[in-house]
Symmetry: C2
DNA sequence: GTGACTTCCAAAAACGTTTTTGGAACTGGG
DNA sequence: CCCAGTTCCAAAAACGTTTTTGGAAGTCAC
């Protein structure tokens, strides 16, 4: 069903039908109505390929999903919800989400990947996730004049559009809570250093100490993948030290689950013998044992903010420099942490 | 950079350049080489929109992600890995994955959604996930002559392409293990009845009993969403019964986590007082307490099978009726289940 | 009644490919 | 030397839109 058939059916020219459908002002209201009615009746849908060709737009937004593990076999579950939120907002506006998969963690292939994608004019805008401290993808997108938004910030001179959670505040909150409980040897199981979120969280953690005139022990800050396995390994290495930490704050709930398992293996009761705080408020965090004290992180909701911003960006209703959304942060206290038990602490 | 510029640059006609690039035989090997070399050098990429328009293909495969919860706020984390596996296979072949989001669980809007998507000629093939017992999406895809593959089977007369895990065997295995342990009051926390996987699992569970001449108590079979919360609620309702079940098999690890929490709240020790088996072998299942006995489910790997099949389907190397992959099933024994303790059982 | 606007629609070019058709130049057999 | 067959390339149509340009008819002021 093409526009020419529809035009023929209506006894109008192709151009008039096109203009009627696309909201041009120089077509009589009555004609427009007749066209739209018949179009709906006949089930006419403009061919997106032809439209793309002519107008140069694709009605699609692209995102490339990074593999979570170095093996490339696992995708961070968080992205399901993020993308869900994004799609939820952009689809009513007529956009689709084009997801690509970055199978290997390889900077030069990554550049080629993005280049191919941008130059191939597959999408009208880009969503860049898992931002690094210095992220070449931002420069690449800017150079190609491709509208983009990042989920997570980065160190860039130029202004750009971003949505992020308040990583620094989150870990300031968590560390402060543990300090208030009397803990001093508070370990930090952070994510890979190259990611900016890890840097921000580090900063928040440090600031909790310096705020009260203390300095954390650098030896207690570990980096690793944000998985259960990594949390387990890292925590085990922590517990064989002497003195061992009395509290641990983890970059994700998953890491916290691994850490909890490691503590249990050592015969430690989490919540009294040792305190653990996670991050994400994943649904599992409420049902594990002990229920995990963690920091709220509404990924779906953030995805909706991303989607809304993307639409406004594409419609040029707003400048990239003006779209910044920082998710407010709230700690959800449960039972995996508590006051320092003095007998163990000394 | 269009093909006409490239042709001009080479002193050749547009058609010759196109034919050289697309592997036609009637262009001299030397000319072809000259063209491909220059194309690479100059960074020429055929405009996907134009190609789509002319050839009618899109080089994209579509999938619509169902929301896991009725609120539409949560996307099943499993799909991250599934899509990762799919993309991993189809991208080297030049295809992209177009993901849509189904925000609400509404059959009539769903039909319109798929219709719009298929008729709009957005993609060359469809991946249909979360199949229902009678799934209208299959008929819709077939009618539109859109190649498709399902992840999960369905009751359909006509043959079609599918990848699935052996749901029936998995729950036959799990229930048999519990029966071997001496359990008789074995509850089953299943997923929503409308999904075919739930039906197959039900069948496997039943067969474990009938295989040894027994019949399970229908009152012990409950249905709900496959989330921690649902598992928690359902399990609680089970435990206040008299007599209560001595074992529970759950449709997902997440449900099992919720069930474990409910048991703990009742003062029950999971693994001795009551046995619980999950499904999925999620990474959390190895680190929770007690470590969960569960059934292996390699979602990423299954996604790769889906991707490979899709490519072969698109290349017409294989008929839909001939692509069936049933993931073999293996039980992972851990510590959340064990022999029936007789003092409690009577 | 005339000229200048306004209103509405049509013709045609263009977007960047692929594919069909056709033909020039070369080759080899008789 | 001629003709048929082969090899290589070019011209042009087509895909289904959008957008520019232009023009016919109607309206209004003077």
């Amino acid at each position: 069903m093409s526009i020419v058939l529809l035009a023929k059916d209506l006894g109008l020219s192709v151009s008039t039908v096109s203009r009627a459908l696309n909201g041009y002002t120089d077509v009589a209201a009555q004609t427009r109505e007749r066209v739209t009615a018949r179009a709906k009746e006949i089930g006419y849908r403009p061919n997106p390929g032809a439209r793309r060709l002519k107008s140069g737009t694709t009605s699609a937004v692209g995102v490339v999903l990074p593999a979570a593990s170095s093996s490339g076999q696992v995708v961070d579950a968080m992205y399901s919800s993020l993308l869900g939120g994004v799609a939820n907002e952009i689809e009513p506006a007529g956009y689709h989400l084009l997801a690509m998969m970055q199978t290997r963690h390889d900077p030069v292939r990554e550049a080629a990947f993005y280049d191919n994608f941008i130059k191939g004019s597959w999408v009208d805008a880009l969503l860049i996730v898992r931002t690094r401290v210095h992220d070449p993808r931002i420069e690449a997108a800017r150079k190609a004049h491709m509208p983009f938004i990042t989920y997570g910030r980065t160190e860039s001179k130029e202004p750009y559009a971003w949505v992020d959670t308040d990583n620094e505040k989150a870990f300031h909150l968590a560390a402060t809570r543990l300090l208030d409980f009397g803990h001093r040897r508070i370990a930090f199981l952070n994510g890979p250093e190259e990611y900016y979120f890890a840097q921000l969280r580090h900063r928040g953690y440090i600031r909790a100490f310096t705020d009260r005139g203390m300095i954390p022990d650098p030896a207690l800050i570990l980096h690793g993948e944000v998985t259960e396995e990594s949390g387990h390994v890292l925590c085990r290495s922590l517990l064989i030290r002497n003195p061992a930490p009395t509290a641990i704050v983890c970059a994700t709930d998953a890491m916290a689950f691994g850490a909890i398992a490691a503590c249990r293996e050592r015969g430690l009761t989490v919540g009294t013998d040792i305190s653990i705080i996670g991050y994400g408020n994943s649904s599992a965090s409420a049902y594990c044992h002990p229920p995990l004290t963690t920091v709220e992180h509404q990924v779906f909701e953030n995805g909706r903010h991303v989607g809304q911003a993307l639409i406004r960006l594409l419609r040029k209703e707003i400048k990239p420099a003006d779209v910044h959304y920082l998710e407010p942060v709230v700690l959800v206290p449960r039972n995996s942490d508590g006051p320092l038990v003095v007998t163990r602490a000394v």
